[in-house]
Every structure is written in C-alpha cells, then in structure tokens.
Amino acid sequence: MKKIIGWVIPIIIMLIWTIGSALDLWNAYIIPSPIRVAQATLRLIESGMLFRHIVVSLNRVFTGFAVAFCLAFPLGIILGMKTKLIQFFNPMLEFIRHVPPLATVPMLILWFGIGETPKIVIIVLASFFPVFLNTLNGVLCCDKKLLEVGESFGFTSGEKFYKIILPATLPYIFVGMRLGLGYSWRALIGAELVAASSGIGYMILDAQQLSRTDVVIVGILAIGILGSVIDFLLLKLTEHLITWKEGDKQRGWS
C-alpha cells in the first residue's frame, strides 16, 4: 500500500499533463505532450544517443564522487578522532562549503582548461561536504560508553577504531554517500556547461538551443530516474550491510 501511495502524485501529474496537452490548454512548445516526449525518447534510444550521453554522465558522476569520497572520508575520520584539528581546518572548510561550485567555473577553466578535469572538480566540490560532514558527525557521535567497553577489554586505539568507531559510523557514512551522490547529479548540469560535447547536461543545453523542449524533458527525466535508481541501489546496499538497523524495525522479543 505504501508503495502505491508514492505513485499517486506522479500519476496525477501525468494525467493533468496528458489531458491538458490533448485539450491544448497550453502551448505545445512550452510544455510538449507526453506522446511527443515518448517519441523523442524512442528516437534517442534507437540512435544510441541517450545511452551514450548517460554513460558519459555516469562516468563523470562516479569519477567525481569517488574522488570526493577518497578525500572526504579520511578527512572526516581524522578530524573526528583528533578533534583539536577541527579548529585548524574549520574556517577554511566553512569558507569553501559556502561557495557554490558553479561560481568557480571561470577559474577552473583557467586552471584546468576545458577538458574533463574542471567538470570532475565541480562534482567533487558538490559531493565532498555531504560525505565529509556526515563522516565527521558519525565519529563525533560515536557513543563514548561503547569506547569505554573497548578500553576495559584492553583494546588499542587501532582496535577501537576498527571494532567500534568504524561500525558505529557506517550508517552516517552511507547517509553522506547518498546525499553526496544526489549532489553530484545536481552539479552535473553545471559541470557539463563547461564546454562539453557529450553527457545528459550537454544534451539538455543543446536541445534548449535547438528549441527541442521534448528532448529537454527527456534529459530531465533521465537524470531523475538515474539518480533515483542509484539512490535505491545504495539504500539496498546500506540495508544489506547495516542489518542491525533492519533489526530495529523488527523488534522481536523485547
């Protein structure tokens, strides 16, 4: 029943869209009909263009996100464990956090040219902070009482990290990853503004210049669907790895 409820609003929107388009309630250029969008989708699939753009965009998102994760995860862990360092890094990180990645585009083009690097850097900037802040928060929120258990059993700092801090932080890390991937998709269009010749963002901008609003909508739907599918897969991975959260929902004998 819960799954059906989630589809009610999209179905209503589809109905309004279809009926409105059929009755010519709005200009077909501003809002193309669902049939036109479906036809455009089929053409893009048949020509292989949609698939090619998706692969390029996915590659950028995953590369950018992987770089962001490799920087954010260790930094979050280190600052969480050595809290005195937070004061040292905090002003600089706060400054960068408040600068929209797109504002850096002109400088990134100057520094890195118009190749793949500036696009990846924009995605890195967009997805770094969700992963970093959630990892840091996870380490800081690790129950001190659990750490005392490790201490009472004579665990070393390394053992306390692997046996207590890391497992306790995992749910926070996964939340950071889900948010970070979402931010990566958001930054993608901005990243593909930078002299791109492929990718979903490029496809949307190209369609805009050619006044092909049906293709623009295909691009928007592709980003939304891809983002949701990746988030769903990550959620399933989280549930698989963090079974004790699942246990929380299924309270048994208490």
């Binding site: 009482k145 659990l146 005392e148 258990v149 201490e151 009472s152 059993f153 004579g154 665990f155 053992e159 046996k163 207590i164 497992p167 306790a168 995992l170 963090i242 079974t243 004790w244 246990g247 929380d248 299924q250 309270r251 048994g252 004998w253 208490s254």
Partner: protein
C-alpha cells in the same frame, strides 16, 4: 585468581572551577576469590572506585595493587579485570553471539572463541537468542549477554557497576541467583556495586559501605549461599547496614 589492595586512594574532579572530592583516602583489601559488594547512596563514589579499579580513570593519589594467589604470578595486568556496566553496552551492530565473542578476537582463534561463547550462551540461557541483535532482546537478556561477554573474556577480577539497577524485580532476582551460581562454580573475585542494601547482603561475602567518598564500614556476611532474604540473620545484617548509612547521614547533617 587475583585480589586487590587499595591504599590511600583519592580522586578529585574539577567541576565549574570547584574541587570535588569523589574519593577521600580509601583503604580497602579485596581478597582473591571473594565476593565483595560495595553499597552506598548515589554520589558516594562507588562508580568512581570501580572506574579506577578497571583503569578507565587515573587516581589523583594512592595506589591500586593487584595481588595473585599463585606464587608464580607476581603481577597481573589490567587485562585481568573485566567490567559489567550499569547498562548492557552491547555493540548494536553485533548479534548476541558476536557481542559475547567481542573481547576474544585478540587472544583466541575463531574456533576457540566459538566454543567459549557457546558454553556461556548456554550458561546465561541465551542459546535461542544468539543470532538476535541487542535491539531485538529485552533489557534482562541484554544484561545477561553483557555478563556473558565479561565471563567469556575470563578476567581474574569481575567488576559490576549496578548491573541490575534498571531491571524489573523478577529479572533482577533471576540474575542475582545466576551470579551467585557463577561465583560458586568459578570462584572469581567479584566486586559488585549496588545502592540496594538487600542486594548487597544477598550477594556479598563482604559488604563495604561507602559514604561521601569514604569507607565507613566493612561487614563480613556469615551466611551461606543461597541466601533467603526473609531469615532473621539476613534482616539483622540488612538493618545494621541501613542504620550505618542513615546514622552517618544524620551525623553529617548534625
């Protein structure tokens, strides 16, 4: 087996620039293989004493010496001390079985650990719940698992910090009986902290009364196990200890 000799132990905390004396010159001998209960009202320094004993805190002054029964054993390390906290403090991401095996990964192979854990799962009556997560079992079961975890660790001295305080009457009675059985069968040195005088008399061979950070009474309990709380001797000892605590409080008030 091991005992503890505490000499001139002092512990001070600084709270809001004020010096708080949690323990004032405590001298105490806990013989090896004995069951000592430490009783006193809230804030008398019971938990501080236990945290100092297991090395979670450093004393301001004084010495804690661990003594061994065996002549060959000149000194025992802190690893021979295991603690059961007031809350179960089980790792929420581990099952009951994994929690009980938690302290063994350093010293035992998986096969050895499994054998030890199976034995204590049976003793603690948790066999059916070995694959349950802490969130899926009751508070009493969780506390039994915590006791089992410490027993699996096989320390020479078991410290218990009001482990049954949050449990209901029936669960508490069951666990008290189980602790006595374990003490009689394994002969470990047990230091049990409680604010419940009846519990102290039921469990301890020796009762130490703490008040305002000082030992005000040491009382040997000349009753054999299992004890009945409705016998005259039991009630007399309980009254004597209660009077000591109340009398001391009135004296301090005066």
């Amino acid at each position: 087996m091991a005992g503890v000799k505490i000499s001139n132990l002092k512990k001070q905390y600084i709270v809001d620039k004020q010096r708080i004396h949690a323990l004032k010159n405590v001298n105490l001998t806990i013989p090896d293989g004995s069951f000592t209960t430490i009783v006193g009202k809230s804030g008398c320094g019971k938990t501080t004493l236990l945290r100092l004993l297991c090395g979670l805190e450093e004393p301001t002054e004084g010495v804690i010496e661990f003594t061994c029964r065996e002549e060959s054993c000149k000194e025992i390390s802190g690893k021979s001390v295991g603690i059961v906290f007031q809350e179960s403090r089980l790792m929420p991401w581990l099952t009951v079985k994994e929690n009980m095996a938690f302290p063994l990964f350093k010293t035992k192979s998986k096969k050895q650990a499994d054998k030890i854990v199976e034995e204590y799962l049976h003793i603690m009556g948790l066999g059916k719940f070995k694959n349950a997560y802490p969130s899926q079992i009751s508070g009493g079961m969780a506390q039994r698992a915590a006791v089992g975890r410490t027993l699996c660790y096989n320390p020479d001295i078991i410290l218990m910090d009001e482990p049954f305080a949050a449990l209901d009457y029936f669960t508490r009675n069951n666990l008290q009986e189980e602790i006595v059985k374990l003490f009689l069968s394994q002969g470990k040195t047990i230091v049990f902290i409680t604010h419940n005088v009846e519990e102290a008399v039921y469990l301890g061979e020796k009762i130490v009364v703490l008040n305002e950070g000082q030992v005000i009474m040491e009382h040997k309990v000349p009753l054999s196990y299992p004890r009945q709380s409705n016998t005259l001797d039991f009630i007399n000892i309980k009254e004597e200890i209660l009077n000591t605590i109340i009398g001391n409080r009135e004296k301090l008030n005066a």
